[in-house]
């Protein structure tokens, strides 16, 4: 009996102590430097219209979302979240892709072995590669469906016509990202799928052969091609894509948020 009382007392004391530490942290300059005035992490959150606004207004999310949106815009049946999911899949693919980069060397002699090793000897290697591959196919699909959704809602009409153009560029970039990634495992599937694809490219009039030569780093696919497509896949195309994404998101808000209901 006495012992439980003692436990209770120490528990109480501990709680008080923790509360004091928490207050001290929240009053510190470091905490104040991290969270903006008005941030819910600085002043606490209770549900009120003002605090709901502050959650967006005083966080980095304000770059992406306004404080309020039209009521129909939050209906899942209107957008099916396709644009947001495409963006999320891009982040998802970046994260899994960075993991894969730790174990992969883009040369004809090593690429296939590296993936074999990744799948058999690296913890979660097989799972992460699977996630990257299926996520990539899914992203092609969501971007495509997003385009269809926007078309059927007539959301490409003024003032959104330029954002539609950006969107088509993003769709093309997504396809190119997927296609450049296709070569990297350096197996029979990769080699011959890319051979079929780049042969078509060679038929472009006037400069077709030159474009093909630049992309392949030679007259036929080889270890130089692998290095080129790797660089395109992990650095250049994502870089370009992020720039267009930024413009795309900015225009969504500048053009008055998502389009109106039908």
């Amino acid at each position: 009996m006495a012992e439980t009382n003692g436990d209770k007392a120490t528990g109480q004391a501990l709680k008080e102590k923790l509360g004091q530490v928490g207050e001290k942290v929240q009053d510190s300059q470091t905490w104040a430097a991290i969270f903006r005035p008005g941030s819910i992490f600085r002043k606490g959150y209770t549900d009120s219209p003002r605090n709901r606004s502050y959650v967006i207004m005083n966080s980095v999310l304000y770059h992406l979302h306004p404080v309020k949106v039209k009521r129909h815009a939050v209906k899942v049946s209107y957008t099916l979240c396709l644009g947001g999911l495409s963006f999320f899949l891009f982040i998802f693919l970046t994260v899994t892709g960075i993991f894969l980069m730790f174990f992969y060397r883009p040369t004809a002699a090593q690429a296939w072995d590296d993936i074999q090793t990744l799948q058999t000897a690296v913890g979660f290697g097989l799972l992460v590669r699977n996630m990257h591959r299926w996520g990539a196919h899914l992203m092609v699909l969501t971007v495509f469906l997003h385009m269809a959704r926007v078309f059927y809602h007539g959301a490409y009409k003024p003032p959104r016509e330029f954002n539609w153009v950006i969107g088509v560029i993003l769709l093309t970039l997504t396809l190119l990202l997927s296609f450049t990634g296709y070569l990297l495992p350096w197996d029979q599937l990769a080699l011959w799928a890319v051979t079929v694809g780049t042969n078509m490219m060679g038929y472009t009039p006037v400069f077709g052969e030159q474009v093909r030569f630049v992309l392949l780093g030679g007259v036929e696919i080889g270890t130089d091609t692998l290095l080129r497509w790797y660089t395109l896949h992990v650095l250049m195309l994502p870089f370009v894509l992020v720039i267009f994404l930024a413009i795309h998101f900015w225009r969504v808000r500048k053009d008055g948020g998502i389009s109106g209901p039908l």
Binding site: W112, L127, W134, F144, P158
Partner: protein, 253 residues
């Protein structure tokens, strides 16, 4: 864009309902109702009129139209305000005109019904992201990504297929010259897609007003979907037509 806060709108609606109920009854209720309505600025833009006293409105009339004073040298203070140097710091102020609110505030948009992004939108987005992560992870646990044998330039697999999203093009390759199938048609497709908002001048986004655009897009999408399906599932060795339930499936993702 004028936006009426939700609680004010609700209050106004309640008051209006109350006024409706008490029509002809106690006048106090009606007064209360009109007060609540004027809380919302766009509801009654002319309500400012009553607030301008009549004698101030008189002074807005140009001097030429005002009744002439007996002696032009003696200006009555009630008409022109205080004399020069009379006001604080030697300034004087004179009312030149009264601008009614309705004449400068041209409210064109009707109030829109809005909700807070937090929590309504963010929770939906979070759940969507969670669902797709879950789906991809589970799918990845069950199905492995293909890794065939090492690339070999001397052994061409039969059939050789492009990634699925290019299989429509590969399918076209069986019908047209490579320049048409691989360059002209997809190039035109992307170009037309980019030009869509500049070609389609119809301002309406209602499906019933844009039957042609919707039919065209649907035909276009179906065309590619069918080609991709045929290329993926109905093409066997030599890229010849096979039924997947007879000749087997020649498709890797």
């Amino acid at each position: 864009m004028v936006e009426i806060p939700e609680h004010l709108r609700k209050r106004a609606e309640e008051a209006r309902a109350k006024a409706e109920a008490a029509k002809g009854g106690s006048t106090a209720d009606v007064v209360e109702a009109t007060e609540a309505v004027t809380d919302a600025p766009s509801e009654n833009p002319n309500s400012g009129d009553e607030k301008i006293p009549a004698h101030l409105l008189d002074r807005g009339v140009p001097a030429s139209k005002q009744p002439p004073t007996k002696d032009p040298s003696i200006i009555s203070p009630s008409q022109t305000g205080p004399q020069a140097g009379e006001g604080p710091d030697g300034h004087n102020q004179r009312l030149l005109t009264v601008v009614k609110a309705g004449s400068i505030q041209d409210v064109k948009t009707t109030p829109t019904d809005k909700v807070h992004v937090w929590p309504h939108l963010l929770i939906a987005e979070f759940l969507a992201a969670l669902a797709i992560t879950l789906f991809t992870t589970l799918f990845s646990i069950v199905v492995n990504a293909p890794l065939l044998e090492l690339a070999d330039f001397n052994r061409t697999p039969n059939p050789s297929k492009a990634p699925w999203y290019f299989l429509g093009l590969q399918e076209l390759l069986t019908m047209f010259h490579p320049m048409v199938a691989g360059v002209t048609i997809p190039g035109m497709g992307i170009f037309l897609l980019i030009m869509a908002p500049f070609i389609d001048k119809n301002p309406s986004n209602k499906p019933e007003h844009r039957k042609f655009a919707i039919s065209l897009m649907t035909v276009h999408l179906m065309f590619w979907a069918v080609l991709v399906m045929i290329g993926s599932f109905f093409r066997g060795p030599g890229f010849n037509f096979v039924f997947p339930w007879e000749g087997g499936l020649f498709f890797e993702l």
